[in-house]
Symmetry: C2
Subunit: 427 residues, 2 copies
């Protein structure tokens, strides 16, 4: 079979009709499948079920130092949890705060803090001028949703195979109204790429015109390898690099156990410079008395330390890797000859980034939906949902079982090819 | 013995010397006692220990309708929890959202939401003019801390025995920069008073100049009676009253289980009008994916329904009531003749409000601290910590055991009397 772009109209029409017949047959099955979000599967959640029962009685609720985790207090989190994240992120204990059940909330709160008057200054909104933010994309739709909610103007930055385009960033940050940037530096959502040492070093050295510029370093997938960790991607620690340039205040790192333990009931952590930690804690001290320390205690009793965490992540890997393989294989088989698609082969994270023929992503997602497969909305990984090429589809293989996933991937392949032939036939 | 104000200088000096000797003897014991915050005691926390273990296995984590509480989703909380708070607050199901582990955070978030652009308008900060807030006082120091953090100007409103002074409120809300008010309408912190029906009806009918005016109706102590509930205070439901005046959007009610189950790991609820719920949910949908539903499930399995909750609160009452009695008795015995103090006899809540001789509250708290008894800072129940009469002391009897509490109260009595004689001798 030839590549679609090399086919003449008759060949395309024949291919189109063949695909349509297959598509209609699949559609007739009346499936209801969901590959839209990076949700862990029940099987993965079951890995942490010991955490449901690991506090047995009154005697178990005291943390190191005898703190009653049921009562008020300990604003910045149990010391044992802070030590755990200190080890994991390789950031000093003093620079760690434990957050609530979602790093998304930590980020929303931090953006809010920076927009408004805070301990470090009058806030990004103070001048009354538009606030702008750099958004490497494709990126995480929920990052963009925070900015859109606050009316922050989003400037797309091209995402390369090893991180965002530094030249574009360097140019953009000359504008003092550009106040920050969102990054998912390891196993990025959705491309799965990890920032190279070179990119991390370049980012650590940036000199933004805005003195209150902040990079939200969303290290969501730091231990989420799909291969043996030794063979997985390595991300350079941003803080020592930033320190070399006096830039330690520019980076605020977050992570969570949402995809380690329970997605809705994990714990999160913030790592930041002394100055940033002080400002965050100052706000927190007005915001609440403590996060849920019982959940913190359940976590640390379960995860124990970084080696135990890594053993736990190996169990996630054993569930996740075959799912990614199933999708990759379906893409390989379905797309190999037609030449209309390319996709990523991440060594970790939760997504495969699929690029279909320009101008057909929306139609592909629509065709999938009509055949009973829900995908992330086309364009979602771009600011304002605007994928300029209309080619990007975020594939989330984590939730469905492998057998379902194969069906999803088959329908996605056929839909993408059908949309491509439709598009090419229009010409 | 005569009243202090009727004593001559010699009599006062003799009384002062007698008190000082007693004070020094108590101080010499080197005590370390804490009566500073409304913290539940361990004995109270133990009442909810079944909640630590009431999810036994994988089979237990599904809520009504089969939702896996471990995973993402259900932004506004488990339906069974919303039903519970709907019954408790007598507000329709649709008007209830479940929040995180602290109603304080819900209030901080809501103030933040109102200050900034939001679904309902440009926000309180938009005009650039100072934002002002009404603060019935003595009131809750953490409410005032939120406002102070945001630079909101706090206007004190006199707290009467049955709620805030309505005339002062009516006058103040003519200023369109007055954007809201904090209320603890039942067993108020710290006076313990409950707003009378008359006050609730008057508040429900207010006509503020600011169309985005909001009353934070912090119903923190709604089931926290110190007497049999039938003999306890009754608070009129604000929403039906407000509705009569088209004012349903003016009130946002919050409550939590912080003083029902675990103070650091409870769940909270918001009750509000359709319009306000929509705006809150809109912001929440950008802020996080869900609150901790496992904790919600633990709560509803434990608290079950309002009758079960009331049985549980009777156990709290059995622990709390003797503590309040011990303090009341110590005050009765110690202050009866000297005429320098008056205090509240609340039927519920967490505090006794003590008024000592004008100009001696700070000195009393200082003397207590030096004798090893930590009290809430004098002035804390007033905006900017400024008690104009320097007479108010918030007494929090919940945490120490009764025997300790008796010692605390004794030291407080002697300190207040000593400070009073010092003050009167100065004249």
């Amino acid at each position: 079979m030839a590549k679609y772009v090399e086919m003449n109209q008759d060949q395309l029409q024949a291919e189109h009709d063949r695909l349509l017949a297959k598509y209609e047959a699949l559609k007739a099955k009346g499936l209801q499948l969901d590959m839209s979000r990076g949700k862990p599967s029940s099987e993965q959640l079951n890995l942490s079920d010991d955490m449901l029962t690991n506090l047995h009685s009154i005697d178990d609720v005291f943390s190191d130092g005898g703190v009653d985790t049921r009562n008020y207090g300990v604003l910045d989190g149990l010391p044992e949890c802070r030590r755990f994240f200190s080890d994991l992120l390789e950031v000093p204990f003093e620079n760690i705060i434990i957050g609530g059940n979602a790093s998304l909330r930590v980020m929303f709160d931090y953006i809010t803090q920076c927009l408004m008057p805070n301990l470090l200054g009058p806030g990004w909104m103070a001048s009354g001028k538009p606030v702008k933010f750099l958004c490497p994309c494709p990126g995480y739709d929920r990052h963009f949703a925070i900015l859109e909610y606050y009316g922050v103007e989003m400037l797309p930055i091209e995402m390369e195979d090893d991180g965002p385009n530094i030249a574009q960033i360097t140019e953009a940050i000359k504008d003092p109204q550009v106040k920050g940037m969102f990054c998912v530096p390891k196993y990025s959502n959705p491309t799965g790429c990890t920032y190279s040492d070179e990119k991390v070093k370049a980012l650590a050295a940036i000199k933004p015109a805005a003195e209150d510029f902040r990079v939200i370093w969303d290290n969501a997938y730091l231990v989420h390898d799909l291969v043996e960790p030794e063979e997985g991607d390595k991300l350079l620690n941003i803080f020592p690099e930033a320190l070399k340039h006096g830039n330690e205040d520019l980076f605020v790192e977050v992570c969570s156990t949402s995809k380690v333990t329970f997605s809705g009931a994990g714990i999160s952590a913030i790592a930041a410079s002394e100055k940033n930690i002080a400002a965050i804690k100052h706000r927190m001290s007005k915001q609440f008395i403590s996060n849920d320390k019982i959940n913190q205690l359940r976590h640390i009793r379960f995860l124990k330390d970084v080696p135990t965490l890594m053993e736990h992540m190996a169990k996630h890997r054993a569930i996740m890797a075959p799912k990614f393989e199933a999708v990759q294989q379906a893409f390989e088989e379905g797309f190999s000859e037609c030449g209309i698609a390319r996709w990523t082969h991440p060594k970790g994270g939760y997504f495969i980034n699929l690029d279909v023929l320009d101008g057909t992503a929306r139609q592909t997602v629509k065709l999938c939906a009509e055949a009973g497969v829900v995908l992330t909305g086309a364009g979602a990984p771009f600011p304002y949902g605007n994928d300029p090429k209309d080619s990007n589809i975020r594939v989330a293989p984590s939730f469905p079982p492998v057998e379902e996933l194969k069906v999803c991937a088959e329908i996605l392949v056929i839909s993408a090819k059908l949309a491509a032939t439709e598009k090419l036939l229009e010409k």
